[in-house]
Amino acid sequence: MKDETSPVSPDEIVVRLIWKDFHKPGQAVSISEGAFRPKPNETDGISVFRAACLNDPRDILTVIASEKRDKYALALCRFLSCSR
């Protein structure tokens, strides 16, 4: 597992928390663009987690109030795609 202070490599996977209404399995495009739009508190970019720094991507759900965790999906994206 990588240290969070280590440089991000182009092939890394980053994880974005997706609220349930931005995700529709089965659609031609299953995630809304809105899921990747910066939130008001994301003034210098969108928040993602580095999968390489986690034992399991699902671990990031622990930042969410426990009763809300089932309202989220996780989008795993290549860092290279995010940084274009």
């Binding site: 209404d21 529709k24 495009v29 508190n41």
Partner: protein, 147 residues
């Protein structure tokens, strides 16, 4: 409310026939997926009435709780959805809440383009026409106010 919609915006929204299927021959835009229905959009909006402070559960971790979605916001979005439906616009592919207490609609078009309508407040919405090549055009939809 929202009885008068800007023609330059309305003309660019995807259209549906009465039975809910996309009318490609006359539509200014064609959806990427089979259209959803307005009932599910309206149901979502009603669900958001229960979205109170910190509805997304991220407040404790990130310090700024999601703002509640007010009844006024939902009433306005419902009125706009009803107006769009009445004039034959396809239901949005996505109806979503905003952490700043707003709501939005998004249409994904077959061309790869998308249209996003995001309320700024109950009387104003930003409309983004996003081309597949990342070009974005921004228009503002405002509710006419009678004085």
């Amino acid at each position: 409310m929202w009885d008068s919609l800007k023609p330059e915006i309305l003309a660019r929204l995807p259209r549906s026939t009465m039975n809910g299927t996309t009318n490609g021959s006359h539509a200014p835009s064609v959806l990427a997926s089979p259209p959803t229905n307005w009932e599910s959009c309206l149901e979502k909006l009603q669900e958001y009435r229960s979205y109170t402070d910190d509805w997304d559960g991220q407040g404790a971790a990130f310090g700024k709780p999601a703002a509640p979605i007010t009844g006024e916001m939902i009433d306005s979005a419902t009125a706009l959805a009803t107006s769009l439906r009445r004039v034959g616009v396809s239901a949005p592919d996505w109806t979503f809440p905003g952490v700043d207490g707003t709501v939005g609609f998004e249409w994904r078009l077959g061309s790869g383009d998308s249209i996003s309508l995001e309320f700024r407040d109950p009387t104003m919405a930003d409309v983004f026409f996003c081309a597949a090549d990342n070009d974005v055009e921004h228009l503002i939809l405002t509710e006419a106010v009678t004085v």
